[in-house]
């Protein structure tokens, strides 16, 4: 993973021509506009699936933003944002969720709230 040149400081980036199969884990934020099949674990950090992103993986992160396609279960310790272009098939477990009009979801949403939030 390489740091992007502009805009997304401290964020690793996977471009739209990149295809990854396997386990993906890290301790920095990740912007993913390519294809990933397997699993993604970014505990304590955020994942953004860009508009060209195509993910077939279980995803675990602090925050998850989806603009592209994601097939798999999502587990976020903080929040999930589904933008209007998002197409998600899978179950979502999170503390907070935001869904734009036009987003597609086939699956369960389970919102857990912790005390003090």
């Amino acid at each position: 993973m390489s740091a992007p040149s502009t805009g997304l400081a401290q964020t690793a980036q996977i471009g739209k021509s990149v295809v990854i199969k396997g386990e993906l884990s890290g301790s920095e934020d990740l912007y993913l506009d390519g294809q990933v099949e397997g699993s993604i674990t970014l505990k304590g950090n955020s994942l953004t699936v860009g508009p060209n992103g195509q993910v077939k993986a279980s995803v675990e992160a602090k925050g998850i933003v989806v603009q592209g396609k994601l097939e798999g279960n999502i587990q976020a310790s903080d929040r999930v944002d589904l933008r209007k272009s998002a197409v998600v098939t899978g179950d979502i477990t999170t503390q907070r969720i935001s869904i734009e009009e036009g987003a597609f979801l086939k699956g369960k949403i389970d919102v857990h709230r912790t005390d003090g939030k």
Binding site: K69, L82, V87, T89, I97, S98, I99, E100, E101, G102, A103, F104, L105, K106, G107, K108, I109, D110, V111, R113
Partner: protein, 222 residues
């Protein structure tokens, strides 16, 4: 994956729902309900139920029924919807999983071949004692009654947005014999009370609410 979306530039309407009012009293008094919302993804419904600590499942069966992969050739070679294939890909949940199913106006707009198999599957995934809410047009609504998506915005109040298919989903498979959907889903039939009772005959009880907008609301209990 194609999706149904609210028609652009069309004002949102609201309606009161006696069936919803009765359901609200149930889920407001319960914890950790499991709700199945059959329609395009509704941020309002997700907010409504998750805000009360319930789990919500979202599944858009109308749009799924336009998937070309769901069609198979019949004896004459014409492509028809295959209900077994449809149910292998949709409504795949454990038995007796849901406390509430929000069916909305699905039976009125769903292809004839899918209505009974889908209601049968809904019965099996609903818990004994669980409730299902469905809306049926009366004949007075007319054949061009628009298809709405319903969003829960109050204890007995729904917001309605007319839904259309995105252009890529309107075509359907070639030579299916189905007329292309010009700008949305078309009313497939009008059920009378006897038809509705037959449709839900495996359920334990059925209650009708006649609304002012040529819609019968039906609340059934498994």
């Amino acid at each position: 994956m194609e999706t149904a979306v609210p028609a652009p530039g069309v004002p949102k309407l609201t309606r009161r729902s006696s069936g919803l009012g009765e359901l609200t009293r149930t889920w407001d008094a319960a914890e950790n309900f499991c709700v199945l919302d059959l329609g395009s993804t509704s941020p309002a419904n997700i907010r409504h139920f998750t805000g009360r600590g319930h789990k919500i499942y979202s599944e858009d069966l109308l749009t799924a029924s336009t998937d070309p992969a769901m069609f198979t050739p019949d004896e004459s070679g014409a492509l028809v919807l295959d209900s077994r294939k449809f149910l292998a890909d949709n409504l795949v949940y454990p038995a007796a999983h849901f406390d509430v199913i929000l069916c909305w106006n699905l039976p009125d707009y769903l292809d004839e071949s899918l209505v009974k198999p889908v209601v049968g599957r809904l019965w099996s995934v609903l818990k004994p004692g669980g409730m299902l809410l469905a809306f049926f047009h009366t004949r007075d609504a007319g054949p061009d009654a628009p298809c709405y998506r319903f969003h829960v915005i109050g204890a007995d109040t729904l917001e309605m947005t007319r839904i259309v298919l995105r252009p890529e989903a309107r075509r359907g498979p070639a030579s299916t014999g189905r007329s292309p959907v010009a700008d949305g889903f078309q009313l497939q039939r009008v059920f009378n009370n006897r038809h509705i009772e037959n449709l839900f005959r495996d359920f334990a009880s059925i209650k009708f609410f006649l609304a002012r907008d040529n819609v019968r609301e039906v609340l059934v209990v498994r």
